[in-house]
Amino acid sequence: MTLAASRDGYGAALLKLAEDPKVVVIEADLGKSTKSQMFRKEYPERTISLGISEQNMMLVSAGLATSGYKPFASTFAIFTERGFEQVRNGIARPNIPVHICGSHGGIHTGTDGSSAQSIEDLAIYRSLPNMIVLHPSDDLSTEYLTTQLLEMDSPSYTRTARNKTPRIYDSETVKELRIGKAELLEDGDDVAIIACGVMVSRALEVSKILAEENISAAVIDMHTIKPLDGEMIDYLAKTCGCFVTIEDHSIIGGLGGAVSEHLSSNLPCPIERIGVNDHFGESGQGDELLDKYGMGIQDIVNAARSAIARK
């Protein structure tokens, strides 16, 4: 098992994207952390440092994008939110393809504590028209999906994670990934576990435990939160008939919210949402925080059982 942090995949993607001379990288004094510095080292002339000014970063990026450049701007997930209204009115509303990456998403971020742990980014960016919202599960998928953003004519928000978790893909399997298409990692017919980000590896672990109880779980990596892969959800509603969503994010409005909305409007069926239960985080190690805040392996196993019981 290889451990990897998805933020490293962002840095690697920028180096690939550099082949396009119009790609520019915008920093707000967190290049060491988001890994945009990997690009800065090779292409300083195409890296623009703006200091600690996230609101400024959003509109500078928009200006560049309307003049033929392809800006990739990053900071911590939480600090992209400092410029949320700038994203809303200055980027999403005019539909300008600015690509924003928020690293250090979720409480798994760890000892920095609650001020650095965004648990609402997926919800707020998902609420904006025109936005693509990604939350890949490992470094390889982050790299692969980020390079696909170049083909998109819309703005995007990608959440990456600070800390290492088990790698999900290899250099071959990752090539199946497409923005907007959920990845069925394991098929099953008793319960569908839809996960994103650092929780995908936990979903795979849970499916093994459930298998010992003769429960067959489908495991899905929902790396694209928006546009949501409704076809995949409909398929799972028919084959499994119940769901568990897991995300290192508030259970309000994120992956669980998106899947619930889709199901209730299409094929209503039981769903249990695992995530941060309307609570701010605290300092601690990433994995112990996931356990403390209701995203432990046993919590997910229990959620799967109760989803099945509610069928």
């Binding site: 200091g51 600690i52 000014s53 600090f79 000892t111 609650s114 601690g284």
Partner: protein, 280 residues
């Protein structure tokens, strides 16, 4: 200072302040080492100022951390929490075992200063650029109450890049908020690198002057200068006042001094030993 004392303590013993600062520096490197994380650089640059302010000026009470007429100290660069925890330990708000909980799950010393977790902390920081606006609110409330409570705010020089700082600066000057006192910890380094390389601020004193503030500079590691500058801050009554304290990031630990690598990185075992040796 305790709540019974009023005004600045002119008799502060400089040697004692120095030795308290050394004790705090030792705690700062120990805390970050234990947590294998945290921000030693900006804690070490700020600590002399904090020691002077807490020991000679702030009206606070460890037995009643929330008593309403206390002065408010607002640490806007909330990542320098080890410095705050160290001085709050000296002042009797925190125990040494509280310091051991820095960045530990369930511990009261959170990664960034947090008023909901730590007695003696009056502002939840961690997101840069917010503390001056909060301090303005606190100062306005004090004025409307006809109280002599002061609001002291510490900002980082990198933090001055946030637009919100200047929104607050503008408003404080317009409203002639004479009980708002700001200290900028000018250590010339931000997260990724030297400010000179990341984003220059050409003339920091002139920027504040242009916004209508009373401005003074000092050496942020010279206790005599710090204390007379705090007196000066208090003497300005008709407008907000800012002290530009020139400091060295990582001050006191040779390999951390002026080194951007120790903005947000903890010393390892070997480095800890060396640091403690230098700080004896």
């Amino acid at each position: 200072m305790t709540k019974d004392a009023g005004g600045i303590n002119h008799l502060a013993d400089i040697d004692e302040l120095r030795s308290i600062a050394t004790r705090c520096r030792r705690e700062i490197v120990k805390m970050t080492h234990r947590a294998s994380a945290g921000h030693p650089g900006g804690s070490l640059s700020a600590i002399d100022i904090l020691v002077a302010l807490y020991k000679t000026r702030l009206r606070i009470d460890p037995n009643e951390p929330d008593y309403p007429e206390r002065d408010r100290f607002i640490m806007s660069k909330g990542h320098a929490s080890p410095a705050i925890y160290a001085i709050l330990n000296v002042m009797g708000f925190l125990t040494v075992s509280d310091l051991n909980s820095y960045r530990i799950m369930g511990g009261i010393c959170q990664g960034h200063v947090d008023m909901k977790w730590t007695p003696g902390v009056d502002f939840s920081a961690g997101s840069l650029g917010m503390g001056l606006s909060f301090g303005l609110g606190v100062a306005l409330a004090s004025r409307m109450d006809n109280s002599d409570r002061a609001a002291f705010v510490m900002l980082g020089d990198g933090e001055l890049q946030e637009g919100q700082i200047w929104e607050a600066a503008m408003a404080a000057a317009h409203h002639e908020v004479g009980n708002l006192k700001v200290i900028v910890d000018c250590n010339r380094i931000q997260n990724d690198d030297f400010m000179e390389k990341q984003l220059r601020l050409f003339d920091i004193p002139a920027m504040w002057k242009g916004f209508g503030w009373a401005v003074r500079e000092c050496d942020g590691h010279d206790f005599n200068e710090i204390i007379s500058s705090i007196e000066w801050l208090d003497s300005v009554k008709d407008r907000p006042a800012v002290l530009i304290a020139n400091t060295v990031k990582g001050k006191g630990v040779s390999f951390m001094e002026d080194n951007p690598a120790f903005h947000g990185a903890a010393p390892n075992d070997e480095q800890l030993l060396q640091a403690l040796e230098e700080l004896s």
